[in-house]
């Protein structure tokens, strides 16, 4: 038997179609057309760019013969018992802060720190600091001069 589309079913049809369209509206405007959605719609945005302000650090031990070796588990020298307690580096400047803390923890060593910072959509190029001894005040002075130089 063929079913009829009575008034109640027409109303449900209109409601279903319009509400499903409403669900799409905010996200379509924001993600499809890159337009800020109006207040009465809502868009879905998942973890876009979360954590992109963090930097990953690689620490090297510099040797007198000009060679360098990676300092494994460097965070342990800062008192972090596991990698999950390692410090966060939120900007390139934190490379020096963490480097200096390592210098204090490992006296009489020459260390360099390379930062690979996140950015929207990926990672920035690693800093060209693999041979810069952060434990040597002369390098720090040179860095400071370069910062203020126009």
């Amino acid at each position: 038997m063929k079913r009829r589309l009575d008034g109640a079913l027409v109303l449900r049809t209109v409601l279903l179609v319009s509400l499903v369209a409403y669900m799409q509206a905010g996200s379509f405007l924001r993600l499809g057309l890159d337009i800020k959605e109006p207040w009465y719609t809502k868009s879905w945005r998942m973890y876009s760019n979360r954590g992109s302000d963090e930097c990953a650090l690689t620490v090297y031990q510099l040797h007198d013969d000009g060679s360098r070796t990676e300092l494994e588990r460097w965070w342990e020298h800062l008192g972090a018992e596991t990698v999950f307690l390692a410090p966060h580096a939120k900007a390139k400047g934190d490379r020096l802060k963490i480097g200096r803390r390592l210098c204090r923890a490992l006296p009489d060593t020459q260390l360099s720190v390379v930062a690979r910072c996140g950015k929207k959509g990926g990672f920035r190029k690693p800093t060209k600091t693999a041979d810069v001894d952060v434990c040597n005040p002369r390098h720090l002075i040179r860095d400071a001069i370069q910062k203020v130089r126009p």
């Binding site: 973890y47 390692a86 580096a89 996140g118």
Partner: protein, 283 residues
Amino acid sequence: MSWLRERWLDIVAEEGSTRSMALLRILMAFTLWSRFAKELMPFRSLEDPAFVAVGIVFYIATTTMAVGFFTRTSMAAVTGVLAALVWGFEGNGSDPSAYTHHHTTMHLLSMAWLALTPAGKSLSIDRWLALGRAERHGGPIPLEVGATWARYLMGAQVATLYLWSAIDKLQRNFLDGTSLQHLVMRYYTGAALPDETWFVALCAFCGTATVVLELVLVVGLFIPRTHKVLMPLGILMHALFYVLIPVNTFTVLMITLYLAYLPPQTVHDAIDRLLAPPTPSPT
């Protein structure tokens, strides 16, 4: 066209058991308590009478919704409270954008669609009272049956979330795992991000797999014969989200909403089976 018309009528004219809607109603109330109860405690915002009023209505309406007393009115009131939070207050002292976050709006929209269902006809005080009336007047026992078309709205809401979430992630940096590496730095390793090949490959795999699974779930969850495979995969994905990143009540809300995809009679029969009287022991 005739086939399409019949399928569409199957949706809008669906009459089925209301037990799955009732389960959704109860679980949704628990989820809302978990998400909002603490911050809506009236004493937390005595300086803002409107917020106190919203808190009081929240406590009363979610309680009556959970137990199924004046269920339609309760669900409408809860929807009103959530709408007031999203559009009227937007945030609270500790997080100014707490109520405009997409997780919060997901609570609101799911609740709004649930309010269109006859969720009070099962597992509720309303039903208890209806049974009492039927017994007193000698009438037939009221059936746990109602128009369940609005469950497709909840399904569409979940599918919408997956669709736009996947579209948002269809970028090289998510598919190659870079975005996940960012998350690992933020929540786990800080500056000590591993750069081993296996780790980079794992992040790329997880990023791509998440997007592929979300896209499959958009359509697949509407097809009952895929449920045995897709529902466990979806639940596993949300469980991993819950364990690995701070998503609060989002995981339990999404898993609860999966009930909307199940044919109402399947849920009804499952409850019957669970509650069937035990067979007498031979001894």
